[in-house]
Amino acid sequence: MASVGFEKATHFYPGTEAPAVDELSLEVEDGEFLVLVGPSGCGKSTSLRMLAGLEEVDSGTIRIGGEDVTDSSPLERDIAMVFQSYALYPHMSVAQNMGFALEMAKVARPERERRVLEAARLLDLEPLLHRRPKALSGGQRQRVAMGRAIVREPRVFLMDEPLSNLDAQLRVSTRTQIAALQKRLGVTTVYVTHDQVEAMTMGDRVAVLKDGVLQQCDSPVRLYEHPANAFVAGFIGSPAMNLREFPLSREGVRVGDAALPLTPGQRRRLADEGASSALLGFRPEAVDLVGEGEGFAMEVGLVEHLGADCYLYGGLPGHPADGDLVVRVAPHAAPAAGGTVRLGVRPGRVHVFSPGTGERLDG
């Protein structure tokens, strides 16, 4: 077990001008579960592969357990990786697959068998130990890939979208199993996913990447409630946060026929940028239906009943082209589609971002 540190780690793919990972600096504590999340092409898998030693580090350093491993080969790093395709050895049985790393490390056969059996029991793989990967289901293969990582008792687990080849139901149950297993084993884990729900539910901390640049690394709650910029705000949460530019007025921001107040600090920073509008964000559940004379009006285009919740999709009157706003209401309070409701955003739940840079504006 060990901590992991990236320090200004950069990687260029040959023939490209923009770095795939741009000066990534990140500290992962001993035993922590860190999730790297972002849209495809954001550099999350490349970062993981740099940590694994499968991709070269063009500049910067990578440390495992305080020791500089930037230029060491994968076998010197004492890490275990779970691949998206599982990458099981097709001509070996499950037991041989799981024992391969120990065999390479010249662990004696009885010890090897003991550890493979132990891991197989943990993952419910005991009856499958003599099968070939071809004869296993997707979920079983996934567990073998996990088993192969666990058997090694490595310093760090690396997981590259290990759930993306499973069906939706299995993905949810495996998600909780992996998180529970990691807590039990206490091994530092770096986990890559493009699915923000996976990131939020599994990670102790979540690092959001975009275009090779780290946007924010925080606890899931903090990411959700205090996004550092408009990208993180829009990426985390489902349905996504309502993000829209609104014109500035004397008291604050004009939202339809109402005004939302801004703090003096926010007003000053917007004025410094010379902005005539502000990028406002509020989550679908941060909104209440209010009476006449309060809040702002929304024309309801679509009502979506999900049982426990109900989502209203609509737009400000007279601005149908501005894209839909999404609002969550209690099912019994849902209005009919085609009507107009008045909405009030709860105080303190409005996020203000710079329309130019997308930076969060506070204070």
Partner: protein, 308 residues
């Protein structure tokens, strides 16, 4: 699963009705010319060969041509020159196949990584396979093996080695030409095998702590197994039939030292004009090749099976 298959078969139902007799023939007609061509070109000559092998037929004796039973087979099998040709064929084929496979595998491993000019190198490495066998043999005989002007003696002279290759090592000379010609074929099959391997599996092995040699031995080689089997089988079948190189370089000599089976059959038919015996020898070779190929394939498969 069952829920999925039911609508599937239901959908397929109406299309699997028996086509009418006429319609079936309409569908087959376009294939007929090809079928007839293949039968005419391969099966009729073979049947003729079988027929001649039971005839006492010698072009020098116009009165010959009576049914001879299995006398031709008896004479061929009893002929020490035939047995010598069998031995030479085994050495020639095994040597050329194994050498070209080993070289082909080595070159394929080198070609399986990216480097500047890889396409050019690959094309150049394939060219020996594209040279006509007769031309290649002639080239080797005159410019490589020639005792006075040959490149081989020139290249080896600093080490004090000098030989009349074709005379002193006739079988080895033929094996080297065949290896040169067949290495690209083996290389292409091995390269196809290497490139069909999942890169993630190799990465997993590296992360699992396997050094490059262990990765090759434990991961890559088992994956290549089927490709090796295929290359061995095809290479054997082709190289058993070698005629050009023997004819051009050694004429089966000195004496009978490099006469292989095809050349032996050629001598029987066109030097001794004994068509009956030549046909019998031809039939024996075809049958033996089939048996050996099947047997070899089984042995190789079971060897690999035990290892993994």
């Amino acid at each position: 699963m069952t829920a999925q298959t039911t609508p599937d078969t239901a959908r397929r139902g109406p299309t699997t009705r028996e086509p009418a007799r006429g319609e079936r023939w309409i569908r087959r007609t376009p294939l007929l010319p090809g079928l007839l061509f293949v039968i005419a070109m391969t099966q009729i000559p073979f049947l003729f060969t079988v027929y001649y092998s039971f005839q006492d037929s010698n072009l020098l004796r116009p009165d010959s041509g009576s049914f001879a039973g299995i006398a031709n087979y008896g004479r061929v099998l009893g002929d020490p020159l035939f047995r010598n040709a069998v031995a030479n064929t085994v050495v020639l084929t095994a040597g050329a196949v194994l050498l070209s496979l080993a070289l082909g595998l080595a070159l394929a491993v080198l070609l399986d990584r990216s480097f500047p000019g890889r396409g050019v190198v690959r094309t150049l490495l394939i060219t020996p396979f594209l040279v006509m066998p007769v031309a290649a043999a002639l080239l080797w005989k005159t410019s490589v093996y020639h005792p006075v002007y040959g490149l081989l003696n020139w290249a080896l002279s600093p080490f004090g080695i000098e030989a009349d290759w074709v005379n002193d090592f006739p079988l080895l000379s033929v094996v080297m030409v065949l290896t040169w010609q067949w290495t690209p074929f083996m290389m292409l099959i091995m390269l196809a095998g290497l490139q069909s391997q999942s890169p993630e599996v190799l990465e997993a092995a590296r992360v699992d702590g396997a050094r490059p040699l262990a990765v090759f031995r434990r991961i890559t080689f088992p994956h290549l197994r089927r490709f090796v089997e295929l290359a061995l089988l095809l290479g054997t079948i082709y190289i058993v039939q070698t005629f050009d190189a023997v004819y051009m370089i050694t004429q089966g000599g000195p004496g009978q030292a490099s006469t292989n089976l095809p050349y032996f059959i050629y001598l029987q038919a066109f030097r001794a004009f004994d068509v009956g015996e030549a046909a019998a020898a031809g039939v024996i070779v075809v049958a033996a090749t089939l048996v050996v190929a099947m047997f070899a394939l089984r042995v190789v498969s079971s060897l690999f099976e035990e290892e993994s």
